[in-house]
């Protein structure tokens, strides 16, 4: 019995990681195409038909690039940092329910687990900044740490409303409870929470307009200034997996998970993927449109605006719940 479960688990794991890494590769392609067309250019077209092999070419290139390690770097930490990032982000995937039957670890505290793991990823970033022994990396690492800490709170609070309405931290149960709710998705009754979530989602994943840790015009490349080749690509993958994870949480908690207006036969995760793609598109759209916040303005926004708003949302949800019952 245990033997069979183990094999099944392993297969499940390998498939999951492969699928997600493929998504990461093609997310970069998707991003370049989307932003390219928004900026009236073509994006990649040369490698393969319509440039479809571009991500693979990029991957091969990064893999075979010289791995440069600065002489003054703290080597063990320098090696470990990208791996910490990637592992933390990958482990988030374990608790995500892609459809009712496909979840690797059906944890009762799924949401908390994801928070814990994404906070852990920022350790990797801070260590990278510290271990590189470069001033730009250091500043990038510091910025990243304070940003993640501030926005983690806002994000956590924005999801408290959802937890209150569901009464569970299990992601599967959140989706199930959502399907039973009057609107079918929580984005409508929890619109304040959803707004706070979207903003902190951008900040958590270090995306424009909150890409200060790697603000290229100020800090060259922030925490990954000194990284090259495969180590850089590990950071890169971690960032994109982070985006996918955040998009999944958004889908699960606010957009109704795998449920859709009608059932698509044979593809139970159709709606889930579609919603994730929509959120990813939103990420890219924002990147093509908005300038970058300044460090102190970012903190102002987080502490003085988003957190009070999220707290007000909790109060409101509580009141509504009491009144309706």
């Amino acid at each position: 019995m245990a033997e069979i479960n183990f094999t099944k688990l392993l297969v499940h794991l390998v498939v999951l990681v492969d699928v997600v890494l493929l998504h990461v590769a093609y997310a970069t392609y998707f991003e370049r195409k989307v932003i390219g067309h928004m900026q009236m250019r073509m994006g990649p077209t040369r490698v393969g038909p319509m440039g479809l092999l571009q991500p693979i070419a990029d991957g091969i290139k990064l893999f075979f690039k010289e791995d440069i390690i600065p002489a003054a770097a703290d080597r063990p930490l320098f090696y470990a940092a990208p791996i910490i990032c990637l592992v933390a982000m990958l482990s988030c995937l374990a608790v995500l329910p892609f459809d009712p039957n496909h979840v690797l670890a059906d944890l009762n505290i799924g949401l908390i687990f994801i928070f814990a793991m994404s906070s852990l990823a920022s350790y990797g970033v801070v260590l990278a900044g510290w271990a590189s022994n470069s001033k730009y990396s250091f500043l990038g690492g510091m910025r990243s740490m304070s940003q993640v800490i501030s926005y983690e709170i806002a994000m956590g609070l924005s999801l408290v409303g959802v937890m209150m309405m569901t009464g569970s931290l299990n992601l599967g149960q959140i989706v199930a409870a959502q399907a039973a709710s009057p609107f079918g998705i929580y984005a409508i009754p929890q619109f304040i929470g959803f707004f706070v979530f979207v903003v902190s989602m951008l900040a958590e994943t270090n995306r424009v307009p909150f890409d200060l840790p790697e603000a290229e015009t100020e800090l060259v490349a922030g925490y990954c200034t000194e990284y090259s080749g495969i180590r850089f690509s590990l950071f890169f993958m971690a960032e994109y997996i982070g985006m996918i994870v955040m998009a999944s949480i958004g889908t699960i908690c606010f957009l109704g998970g795998w449920n859709g207006p009608f059932t698509v036969p044979y593809v139970p995760f159709f709606w889930f993927l579609l919603k994730i793609y929509a959120i990813m598109f939103f990420f890219f759209w924002v990147r093509a449109t908005l300038p970058r916040y300044r460090y102190d303005q970012l903190m102002d926004l987080g502490w003085k605006f988003l957190i009070p708003l999220a707290l007000a949302n909790i109060l409101l949800t509580g009141l509504m719940k009491t009144v309706l019952e």
């Binding site: 900026q39 100020e218 093509a288 300038p291 970058r292």
Partner: protein, 407 residues
Amino acid sequence: MAALEQRSMEIPIPAQEKELFALKMGPQHPATHGVLRLDLFLDGETIAICKPDVGYLHRGFEKIAENKSYAQFLPITDRLDYIGAMANNVGYCHAVETLLNIEVPERANYIRTIVAEMSRISGHLLWLATHALDIGAMTVFLYCFREREILLDLFEELCGARLTTSYTRLGGVRQDVSALFMDNLTKFTDDFPTKIADYETLIDTNRIWLKRTQNIGVISGKQAVQLGFTGPTLRGSGVDYDVRKHRPYCVYDRLDFQVPLGRKGDIYDRYLCRMEEFRQSVAIIKQCLEQLPPGPIVNDDAPDLIMPITPQRKVAADSIGSSGIIQLMEDRNIYMEGDVYVSTEAPKGELGFYFVSDGEGRPYRMHIRSPSFIHIGGIPAICEGEMVADVIACIGSLDVVLGECDR
């Protein structure tokens, strides 16, 4: 080798400021617009001390000028502000013509005005593109380059070169405008105002853009004059000084245009000034295209290598080894002893040439008053007390080019 390392590591730190975090920004940095180096001393993320360091692109133009004839130096002016080469050509030729007292035909003056304004637009487009990119707005960058491409194509149609144009000649311009050029330029002037509106919708009403630019990098009008600022950087602080209005050259005194002024002197005001200058430049080009008179494009008596080469000139040009041109010019006896300072309004600010002539065919001494050099000298006054991210925005709003700064 040890000496080399030691030299590059040396930043003079004031004794009491040892606690500060020293950050050397540049010369290889994505946002310092060339090879500018800033020695920053940070208190947290706030700039306590900022020391710009220039000279990485010093090519000794002033020394070169002393060893070349006036006409020979013209191509080198392209390399000053390599974004607005036309404006430099016009400025240089205007200065030499004032020194040598050469008349410029009417038509050539109009064409010069057109190309100078085109280079102002293309220079400001590059400024807007990089300034927006520095603040993080990526799309504006590509939108601006789309229009700049049209302008560069027009330059190519006009003189065969896109960046290093060397289009003007002493006493006129090199080639007449073609019908294709006129058509395309008319089309461009008609289209461009809608494109400006495009840029403005992208950034002008954007809350983040306003937060990053308003009340940041403030410099009062009085301070700006004290520091010697010119061009849109000075006008952003509300000081009405434009060489085109104060000491008109070419045909600017016959044209109707406004000089936009800012009020507060922050980054946003400088941005608004330059955006309005787009519209004024388009208006100037339109008027010039309407008024463009027929006639010669170059003064036949002008001492230059200008085409078509008459047989006599050709002989003179062939004997260039023994400074044949200079010989030819000396025969005419147009040289004088004395000095002049002549300036024009380049995209970046006032571009002035100070010549000392001792009656020979080359300048005894030439000094280039480059706006970028003076603006970079003013960076500490603008940046100190702001944050690291604002330094980038401030440099962007000054619109500096290091080729011009270091000469």
